[in-house]
Amino acid sequence: MDKHTLQTNKPQKPSHHRTIEWLKKNLFSSWFNTILTFVFATTITVIVIGSVKWIFLTANWHVISANFRLLIVGQYPVAELWRVWICLTLVSFLIGLSWGLWKGTMGHLTIAVTSLYVIVACLPFVLMETRIWLLINIVVIVATYAVGKNWPKLKKSTLVGWFLMFPVIIFLLNGFGVFNHVGSNLWGGFLLTLLIAIVAIVCSFPIGLLLALGRRSKLPIVRWFSIGYIELIRGVPLITILFVAQLMLPLFLGNGIDIDNVVRAMVGFTLFTAAYLAENIRGGLQSIPRGQFEAAEALGLNATIKMTFIILPQALRAVIPAMVGSFIGIFKDTSLVAIVGLTDLLGMGKNIISNPEFLGTQMEVFIFVALVFLIFCNLMAYASRRIERSLGVGKR
């Protein structure tokens, strides 16, 4: 009823009138604002026209289309590429299933991932094979969505599936005797970027959690170890840690054990992220009022239950933005592995530029690399915002 009266009391003006009023009020309210408006309008126009011209007329996108496979999967043998596709299909399988089971946030993410598949499939230069695989992936997502929607009991198995996925993917990619061996020196491009980032993020979380708890521990040895570790890692540049992992780890472990280059980088990133994560989580623990600890203790809860059910859920929720910040940081920092001889997305881009055939195409390559990073970082940021909101229930 209120709405109705409001509408009748305020007769609406024709829309072009309102637009002109808005312009007057916001852009041309004084002579100074008018000048500002013109200056900015000119600048923006020049930039936009220049970019559009460059993108559609000057740029030589052939360098991307000719090297698309290299940029995405590196030197991975063409004959074995089906293994990479199987890995992606596994991920799609779990994504679809999680969408059906949890809806909400997963739905938005799934739509984002599916649109990525569609966009890549529609690129004019990709092979027919790629299109077929992407189509299979989309079908898998839809099919598993239906499964997840109808069998809500699958939640636990799906979570286990997500955790089992990492070893399975590493196994598939490497072969380990069952398939033809593909050494990690051949893994590259965006595949490598993703692998290192995901392993670092997943493995650093439990380590960071333990370090954060350790730093607050009453046991002096545990506390001093945690403080020492965190401050040591935080006081050293990531590059140094990567070099240490590449050069020193083999020394520590002796001659008999040969650790893969990629694994060394993964270890380096994990140890580095863990220290930063520990400080983030400690910040969250610090923000929990003393009364929460006391209430839990007064009920007779032991330390483990108190942490698991009372303190950590609140502390972690409080630091989701900071943690995702660390994760996005580490995702971008993976491009540093180029320095220790691995060819991730950026490293591959640099290799391509140095190929005489593609001389002078650095702009195109770097813009493509930046775009890929931009898309994935934004996906992570978006996921974090959604998770924050969905966890905010009942909290004021």
């Binding site: 009022p289 009364g291 929460q292 006391e294 209430a295 839990a296 203790e297 007064a298 009920l299 007779g300 809860l301 032991n302 239950i305 059910f309 009372i310 859920p313 609140q314 929720r317 229930v393 009942g394 909290k395 004021r396």
Partner: protein
């Protein structure tokens, strides 16, 4: 652990469930508890009064080990309070505590708040814990709030949930640390009413409060604290109508 007592037994013939002997505590140089000795009988309701900063809150928090003491012994329900975690947890199982600032867990529904400890500490099946939780919510008069979050409730309702949460562990002793001090005046009554009914149910209670009428009504004995010491102990009528100590008289004259 003490035996169950018969509620027909007169107070002075029952066993002591809380025994505090010569407690001393310092915060740095500040001597906050000075040789405090107090025994509480099974089923007795003891109300602790005193000016702010007199150490009464600190004292009640030593009973379940939330505050450490530097000297003295505490025995609760036959278990001596030591540095051993197992002893402390055993005592806390038998003592419920209600705080001034409620301290509900904001990320859990009311029902989860109440059932958490019974499920994990008493190892009750979920169904049993929820059934008892609902009965308790019924008792404190807010069963319809079971699936809300603490942030959606008023202060008085939150404090009643906190009482239900403490009672869910079926403790032998309830400790109330200024349960109405953080409440708006119109909500104080609803919480005090719940505590009053509880006092008649035979559970042992130690209550720190500033509510004089409430103290007079429910207390078996009243303890007056000042400067970290017990000044006077007596029945409500002894203490209010016939105070012996000068400081008791001063305190009563200031508030009544």
């Amino acid at each position: 652990m003490l035996k169950e007592f018969n509620s027909d037994t007169p107070l002075d013939q029952r066993e002591d469930i809380v025994v505090c002997n010569q407690l001393n505590k310092w915060f740095g140089n500040l001597h906050v508890l000075k040789d405090v000795s107090l025994n509480v009988k099974q089923g007795e309701v003891v109300v602790i009064l005193g000016p702010s900063g007199s150490g009464k809150s600190t004292f009640i928090r030593t009973v379940n080990g939330l505050e450490e003491i530097q000297k003295g012994d505490i025995t609760v329900d036959g278990i001596p309070l030591s540095n051993d975690v197992a002893d402390i947890e055993a005592i806390r199982k038998e003592t419920g505590m209600v705080f001034q600032s409620f301290n509900l867990f904001p990320h859990m529904t009311i029902l989860k708040n109440i059932t958490l400890a019974p499920i994990w500490v008493r190892k009750w099946p979920k169904a049993k814990a929820e059934k008892i939780a609902m009965e308790l919510l019924e008792r404190v008069g807010i069963p319809e709030q079971a699936h809300k979050y603490p942030g959606q409730l008023s202060g008085g309702q939150q404090q009643r949930v906190a009482i239900a949460r403490a009672l869910a562990m079926q403790p032998k002793i309830m400790l109330f640390d200024e349960p109405t001090s953080a409440l708006d005046p119109e909500m104080i009554k609803e919480v005090l009413d719940v505590i009053k009914t509880l006092a008649g149910s035979g559970i042992t209670m130690i209550v720190v409060t500033h509510e004089m009428n409430f103290a007079r009504e429910v207390a078996d004995r009243i303890v007056l604290f000042d400067f970290g010491e017990i000044i006077e102990i007596g029945t409500p009528s002894e203490l209010f109508d016939n105070p012996k100590h000068e400081r008791t008289k001063l305190f009563l004259s200031q508030i009544l």
